[in-house]
């Protein structure tokens, strides 16, 4: 997997207990084309506090262009930003 750390547009849902789950996101491709990706499966979820900065980390799986791909999403709690971390 390659590190991208690219900001993305995200639709996610919260449970009443505050558990956050990403649903689908949009990302700008290399040719400025906007790609929408549905999060098919969350393999693993975790939290990191590196440098005191809270981030939720999700290892996800989706079918992109007919290929099953594994990637990681990050949600930065302090800034409410979503990132495509690695793919």
């Amino acid at each position: 997997m390659k590190v991208y750390m690219k900001q993305i547009k995200m639709i996610a849902w919260f449970t009443e207990n505050g558990v956050l789950t990403p649903l689908k996101f949009q990302i700008q491709g290399s040719d400025n084309e906007i790609v929408t990706i549905r999060v098919d499966n969350i393999v693993q979820r975790g939290e990191e506090k590196l440098a005191g900065n809270r981030m939720m980390v999700y290892r996800c799986q989706s079918e992109i262009d007919g290929v099953e791909k594994v990637y990681e999403l990050k949600y930065e709690v302090g800034t409410c930003k979503w990132y495509l971390y690695k793919m």
Binding site: V3, Y4, M5, E48, K49, L50, A51, G52, N53, M55, Y83, Y85
Partner: protein, 416 residues
Amino acid sequence: MDERIIFHIDANSAFLSWSAVNALQHGATVDYREIPSIVGGNQATRHGIVLAKSIPAKKYGIQTGEPVIDARRKCPGLVVLPPEYFVYMKCSSAMVDIAKDYSDTIQLFSIDEMFIDYTGMEKLLGDPVGAAHQLKDRIKNELGFTVSVGISSNKLLAKMASDLKKPDAVTTLFKDEIPSKMWGLGVRDLYMVGQATEAKLKRMGICTIGDLANTEIELLKYIFKSWGEVLWCYANGIEDSPVKPDGAIPYIKGIGNSCTIHFDVEDKDIAHKVLLSLVETVGMRLRNAKFCCRLVQVSIKTNELKSYSHQHKFFVPTDCTNAIYKEACRLFDVMWKGEPIRHLGVRVSELCGNDFVQLSMLENSFEKQRLVDLAVDDIRMKYGNHSVFRAGFLHSRLAPMQGGIVEDFPIMTSIL
């Protein structure tokens, strides 16, 4: 009372490793701790000194405090990172949060150091060395940076201990270990011994901490006065100040702020403005700490790095921004010889409580202005430092409040 157990936690090359971890979390592909890199001020605004360095950078002979230009000359491929105070504050608070699981008595000693009073906690959390290892590893795993922990029976020895082994280590330095672990070190390694004291001691034939500890205390007192006794006590590991948890106002001798201006000041009015921006910060800190000051000092550093200063005593203690500003300008006018100025500083000292103040019939009354100061302080506290400022700073290219960093964080102190 049984012997106390004090931990001293020191983040290893704090600013650099914090910046490095933050960068890694935000997608950096290199770990700046593993390549020659420094955290350095902005050369364009002439704050270009090395604030922290990585271990590989150290191998090139780069030293903290030297100009960034010199550092680049020593190591051409050097990576220079800008300081990120908000990141540092976050790291520091996260470190304290973890430490809070080990004791309720924690003193943040500077942004990257703290003391923990572990006395009595061994019944709950077990042996101090084990707990210190656990604490160190938790910081490493959760926050991503390494710390050195020193364990001893007082703050001085704990601080000396954490310096003995770096990075990522736990070291003990109890009273019985002083001769073997501390006395062999050079006097300069002793807390509070700087260049000047070191030179004086060397002239007396005192080269190691052991030499100092075994010198007659009367001789040291004769040469260094009361300071000699402190030195002797420190060399023998005698120190008994308590771990002062947050909120306890430390013993402050004076409050000062200074700044390097991003251009050479050659005009009196601009210099006065810079002084005002510094006095604004100093005054606010003074009132916040609930003090009045009796002494004002202004210092100038010229573009040739020559420094001089002037001070004046007030007849009546004050905490009023305008009163301090007026005096600072007068001092400045008296001493300034007209050379280009690089750096200005204002410091107030001889502090006393601000609850009862002797009024004077002979001096101007600043009573109304003090009320304005308090109102301005309140607004700034609530809406930020730049929410209200003097019109004189509009379009002046100068910040209306200068000195210090984003927040009042304990940066460095010599008082344990």
